[in-house]
Symmetry: C2
Amino acid sequence: MRRSRAEKAVTHSKILSVAAKRFRERGLQGIGVADVMKDAGTSVGNFYKHFDSRDDLVMEALAESFKDLDTLEETVESLSAYMAEFMSDRHRDAPATGCPITAFAGEMAQASDGVRAVYTQRVKRTLGYYADHLKGGDAGARHARAILMLSAGIGALSLSRAVNDKALSREILTVLRKELTGLAERPLPAKRTAVVKRIATAKQAGAKKARAKSR
Amino acid sequence: MRRSRAEKAVTHSKILSVAAKRFRERGLQGIGVADVMKDAGTSVGNFYKHFDSRDDLVMEALAESFKDLDTLEETVESLSAYMAEFMSDRHRDAPATGCPITAFAGEMAQASDGVRAVYTQRVKRTLGYYADHLKGGDAGARHARAILMLSAGIGALSLSRAVNDKALSREILTVLRKELTGLAERPLPAKRTAVVKRIATAKQAGAKKARAKSR
DNA sequence: ATTATCTATAGATCTATAGATAATGC
DNA sequence: ATTATCTATAGATCTATAGATAATGC
C-alpha cells in the first residue's frame, strides 16, 4: 500500500540508519541490499525507488555513519577526552555505531570514486578537528600531530578488534589511550625560527665550553 | 590429465601464492574461489581436492602472505630501516605483496576463529620483533612502544591507501615515516625504580632552591 | 587401483527489474 | 494520474559437488 511522501522520507532514513550500522558491523562487502531492506522493515523491490544502485546506498550510508562522529565530537569536553573515549572498551565493542574512518579504512582502497571522495573529505575534517584542539606549535606541526594521532587511533582500534586475544586487545587500548591523551594534552614546542635556532645552538655550545673549563 | 604428487604440490603452491596476493589486493570477501583458480591456471572443480573449504584457503593464504613480512624483516638492516620501508610509497602502492596485518586488520573481526588465530599469532610475533629491536627501557616499556608503532604503522598505511588525495596520502606517509623511524632509533628511558625517582625529585628540588637563592 | 585434473551443474545468494496493488496528491 | 510499496523473478555470481578422463603409483 502506498504511503505519503513524508512517510517515504521516514522509510529512507530507516534504510540509511540500518545500512550505516550494518556496513560498519559487517564491512561494505559483507551485507546485501536484501538484508538491509529486511532489517529496515521494507521489501527488496522497494530499494531501487530509494537508491539508484547499491553503491549509492554505500555512499549515503557512509555519510550517515559520520553523524556518530559528530555526536562524539559534540559530547566530549576536550580532545583528550575524545581520545579516551575513542580508545575505550565501549568503542571497541560497538563497531556498528563506532568510528567509520576506522571501520572502512581497509576497504576504501577498493571502493568507488564517489565513496572514497566522501570518506576522504571526512578524514580531512577530522584532521582539522584534531589540529584545532591541539596546543602550541605552528599549523604544520599541529597538522602533523593530528595525522599521527588519527593513524595511531584507527590502527589501534582496528587491531584491538582484530586480535583473538582479550588480554592483548585490552593492552592495545590501554597503551594507546595513554599515548593519545598525552599527545592531545601536551603542547607542541613553539615554532623555532632560523634565528631562534641559531641562538639556541650557540647557547648549547657556550654551556658545553663552560662545563669543559670547570673540570 | 592427472599429474604427479610433486606436481600437485606445485599447483597447491601456485594457488596459495595467487590467493595470498589477491586477498590482500581485493579483501578476504572481495575475491572468489573461481577467480583464484583461474589466476593459478587451473580449474574450479580442482579446488576442493586442494582445500576443504574456502575458509581453509583463506587460512593457508594468510599464513602464506606472512612470508612477505619475513622477507622484509630479513632484508632490512635495522628497525628504523624497516619502518622507513613500511612507510614508503612502494609499500603503499603494492598491497598485493605488502603487510598482511595491515591489509586484513579491518576484516579480521568478521573472520572465522581459525583465521583470527593465525592473524593474532602473527601480530604477537611482530610485536616481539619490534620490541626486540628497541633500545633501552624494560621489557614492558619496549612492548608498549611496539604496540604504539604497529598501531600507528598499520593505521597510517591503511589511511594512505584509503584517501583519494595524493598529497594527503604522501603527507601521511611522510609524517609517520619520520615518527616511526624516530621511535625505532630513540632509546627508551632507563627504568626508574622508586628509589631512583625519589633521588631525582630531590635533586630537582635542590636545583630549584639554588636558582631561587642566586637571584 | 588410485587420484590430479577437467567439464558440468546443483543450489544458494545477490543486484536489479517487471508488473501488480492501493493509497496519495493534484 | 502518480507513486510508495509489494511479490516475483531474471540473470549474474559464488561455493561446493558429481562424474568423466587419463595419467601416476603400487
